[in-house]
Amino acid sequence: MNCLEFRRRLGSEPASTLDSFIAHRAECFGCAAAHSRADEFEARLRRAVSVAVPVNLADRILLAQTTELRQGLRKRRRGFSTLILAAAASIVVAVLALQRPSQQMPALAAMVDAHLHKHVVTASEAQSEVARQDVIDTFAQRGVSLAAVPDGVNFVHKCPAGPYKTVHMVMPQEGIPVSVVYVVDAPPQSRVEFSRDGTYGREVPMGKGTLVMLAASSNGFDSIENAWKSAMDAGVAQNREVKTLFAAKSLPGAASWDWRTRVAAP
């Protein structure tokens, strides 16, 4: 191995155990010095790559495996994130979760849920209604055109959920904040309702994306779903009179919704 070959190998495989690599390092002062500098960088690289591993990861995997064994689930659902949510591997809670496999969160909702745990919207941030134009603009930035905006969006932000792009909203219903997250670009999901450990959720395919609602109560879900469905429909049917379209639909709790067209928005 000559110096050039050595440096190439050093840049691509600094821990190489090739005989010729080791031999060259022993006989070439310049390359030996380069090797110790590379070692330093490798140590930094190792530290940087070694991200913290979630506590009890192995235990939770083993728990999931014994769950699968015991229940012989044919179609297992992705529910790890929900187990984390349940409690830091508290056996009691985990065992409860085992007994209610149908109540696991679907994958997309779990990603949304994970996001909500990182991005906690404070009460003061969601105190009052945001401008409709902000909602329209945020959706537009995600490539979704809205012709109308449901009443009562108190927070709106572009956020990720797993690898997907979303619009993260908060829409309080009867005093309970409902996290309403429109996932723009995930593969189509089927409609599903779930609840676990006091969190209620619903996943609804809508437009080209999916609307995910999570809250401490499912009471407001129907009206939020209907409201967004109408808003999305209106977005598709751009040339139709939006108000007429809404008037034709009977929304549960329609009285509490105030519809405006895009043109009429502030």
């Binding site: 440096r7 690289l45 790559v49 913290a52 591993v53 192995a58 995997i61 984390i84 690898p163």
Partner: protein, 176 residues
């Protein structure tokens, strides 16, 4: 509940597998997808698949590579309709380093730089640094030639050093 029932040797083997490899696998998954919860899902799915296919595992030395292969397949399955947003670095969910304060800034900068690397550079690098695989083994994993992998690893390091302003000891290569 059969908590105290004697474990089968298969169960023992599986438990050893999980305890021995979940850390590396999680880190690999994390750098593959950039999301903590998703990485955990991937690792869990990988081990559950491994459990079902445990009989196919023969050589002890090949365990890690086998698990990585399963994980890559799980990841691909999940993302077959969805390219990772490698341009969208805001979506790369970087944890805080646990290093001592003097290392912390540098470590976060390096982490962010790794997160910004294109997947084709990041993946072989992570396989090498975490998995301890040789260029030949990485080439095997990724279905690439060894020379191509060497080039990607070389460039990955150059890019990181370049972004962080580290002195690049490889800069002189072309003059040698």
């Amino acid at each position: 509940m059969p908590v105290n029932s004697p474990m089968s040797s298969r169960q023992h083997q599986f438990e050893a597998l999980v305890r021995g490899h979940s850390t590396d696998l999680y880190r690999y998954a994390y750098w593959l997808c950039g999301q903590d919860a998703l990485a955990q899902d991937l690792v869990q799915d990988t081990f559950l698949r491994a459990w079902r296919a445990l009989d196919k595992l023969r050589e002890v030395g090949a365990v890690k590579a086998w698990l990585i292969t399963i994980l890559r397949r799980e990841h691909a399955r999940l993302f077959e309709r969805k390219a990772m947003p490698s341009d969208d670095i805001d979506d790369f969910d970087l944890p805080d380093p646990q290093a001592t304060p003097e290392h912390r800034t540098e470590e976060s900068a390096l982490r962010a730089a790794i997160g910004r690397l294109e997947a084709k550079y990041r993946e072989p690098l992570v396989l090498q640094v975490i998995g301890g695989f040789s260029c030949a083994e990485i080439a095997d994993q990724l279905g690439l030639g060894e020379a191509a992998v060497m080039t990607q690893l070389f460039r990955a390091r150059q890019k990181l050093k370049g972004q962080l302003g580290f002195e690049d000891q490889s800069a002189g290569v072309s003059e040698l």
